[in-house]
């Protein structure tokens, strides 16, 4: 498993005063055209002071990897409502590992994921899964608490 919150090394007082802006990718992957939820989340994250990169619809896993690597996001949020999470999410995780962009990133999945699959995804490296009924506050707090220290 990954270790977030790495030990702080050589951080000056000055640095800690200016809080780092957290960058999040909100990605819609695969053949899933439902992006209302992703839009709402993107806006909520923006209002929480995060920088949000929205991928747009119908992204392939390697596009999500490309975006996550190049944008150097702290949080990769994958929204899937199509039920294809078991196929698509591992591809994204593999891609992130390939480009050395897995360890210091928080990987979140949002959508409808059955309990059995949740355990499987977590085992593969997903940090948290937000299903129906999860509140914005919950998610924002989770990101604040668990965003990787770099």
């Amino acid at each position: 498993m990954k270790t977030h919150r790495a030990v702080r090394t050589g951080m000056s007082v000055e640095q800690e005063q200016t809080e780092r802006t957290i960058r999040c990718l909100v990605a819609k992957v695969g053949l899933d055209g439902h992006d209302r939820g992703a839009h709402v989340i993107a806006r909520a994250l923006r209002d929480a002071g995060f920088e949000v990169i929205y991928s747009g619809l119908h992204r392939a896993p390697d596009e999500v990897v490309q975006a996550a690597v190049q944008e150097d996001v702290d949080v990769v949020g994958i929204s899937i409502l199509s039920g294809a999470h078991n196929t698509l999410v591992p591809k994204i995780l593999d891609g992130l590992r390939e480009y050395d962009a897995f360890d210091d990133r928080l990987i979140l999945v949002g959508g409808i994921v059955p309990d059995d699959d949740q355990a499987e995804l977590r085992g593969q490296g997903v940090d948290e899964i937000f299903g129906p009924g999860a509140s914005m506050e919950e998610m924002i707090d989770y990101i604040h608490e668990n965003a990787p220290e770099r």
Binding site: G10, S12, Q15, T18, R20, T21, R23, A42, R43, L45, R46, D47, A48, G49, F50, E51, V52, I53, Y54, S55, G56, R59, A60, D62, E63, V65, Q66, A67, V69, Q70, E71, D72, Y99, D100, A101, R150
Partner: protein, 352 residues
């Protein structure tokens, strides 16, 4: 040299991405990184693209980048979007338009927000261009919403500046009046299939002709690329360096989402590049840029030094109080704070 710099120079994508993050955050150590990278720069063509929201910048940049990639060139794009002055947050959406380059790692696309509070956006952009240049990108495109001094400063990091104008609305021409007309080397009327495109081209041409403030403006005004094919490039191509040669910004018509006119646009960019080389202006621009960069850094660093000094003296509030009470005035305060600095500089000078 740090591992990060070594990784970047070795072509590791995540290292490039992380360096740009450090630049954006002004994290400790970023200055050393830029210093290390500087000697590896100077090979990329830097193109600035600006224009009002909805003009089609991202779509055009996508097509341009895809064409460069087909030619076997590597491309870096920095897209700057506004951030909220209230929460500091931002939704950076330019990436959505980059459909033609999906999954292509040699097309490095990075969204940056105009983080107001950190200031120095133009410095951050310059540094990010340095990182992409050192990484070995052949073409670097800086894309930004064109409004105000900040954006003008940003596109000045580019060798060639393209200004996009959507057809139809007088408002966009109003926007141009606010100073962007002077910085365009190439004008693009995008969405040229819409009603009013011809009129916009006409208006633009008139405005470019009527311009007096342009430092290197020519006497024949703008030439439309489709018709009178870039005279600046053709007559002087066989001449030797002619410093009196002027550049007449061409107006290119494009329909970016269908890829129409992209070749014309690339020709116009290439013509301007050739013009810069032929007249020696590329070097002149670089000199100006570095001079501006040094000045900006001096100002920022000196300012930081003085902010620390103010804090040491107990903060700015007590001075404000004294000024409000009419015990002193702003000029006297500044003289007081600066006195040790002046003394120190005088001493150093006398010492030598």
């Amino acid at each position: 040299m740090s591992d990060l710099v070594a990784d970047l120079l070795a072509g590791k994508h995540s290292a490039l991405a992380r360096v740009i993050t450090l630049i954006e955050n002004r994290s400790s150590g970023y200055r050393e990184i830029i210093s290390d990278l500087h000697q590896h720069t100077g090979t990329a063509d830097v193109i600035g693209v600006t224009g009002s929201p909805g003009a089609g910048k991202s779509t055009l940049v996508d097509k341009v980048a895809a064409t460069y990639r087909e030619q076997g060139q590597t491309v870096g794009v920095i897209a700057i979007d506004p951030s909220s002055p209230f929460s500091g947050g931002a939704v950076l959406g330019d990436r959505i338009r980059m459909a033609s380059n999906a999954g292509d790692m040699d097309m490095f696309f990075r969204s940056m927000s105009a983080r107001g509070s950190l200031g120095g956006l133009s410095t951050a952009t310059t540094d990010a261009v340095t990182a992409l240049d050192a990484f070995g990108k052949d073409k670097i495109i800086v894309e930004t919403v064109g409004a105000g001094q900040n954006e003008v400063d940003i596109v000045r990091t580019a060798d060639t500046v393209a200004v996009l104008v959507p057809p139809g609305s007088g408002d966009d021409v109003q926007m141009l009046k606010a100073g962007i007309l002077e910085i365009g080397d190439v004008f693009v009327v995008n969405k040229a299939d819409l009603d009013g495109a011809d009129r916009t081209v006409q208006q633009l041409r008139e405005m470019l002709q009527g311009q007096s403030g342009r430092p290197d403006s020519g006497h024949h005004g703008a030439t439309e690329l489709a018709g009178d094919h870039g005279d600046a490039s053709t007559d002087a191509a066989d001449d030797e360096a002619d410093e009196s040669e002027t550049w007449n910004p061409p107006i290119v018509e494009t329909v970016a989402n269908r890829g129409e006119g992209v070749e014309d646009f690339l020709d116009a960019l290439a013509n301007h590049g050739a013009y810069l080389d032929r007249t020696g202006r590329r070097e002149g621009q670089a000199r100006e840029r570095f001079a501006a960069e040094i000045r900006t850094l001096l100002r920022e660093d000196a300012n930081e030094l003085l902010v620390d000094e103010l804090d040491r003296r107990g903060g700015i509030e007590q001075y404000v109080d004294a000024v409000i009470e009419r015990h002193t005035d702003p000029y006297t305060v500044v003289d007081e704070v600066l006195e040790p600095l002046r003394e120190c500089l005088d001493e150093r000078r006398d010492g030598n």
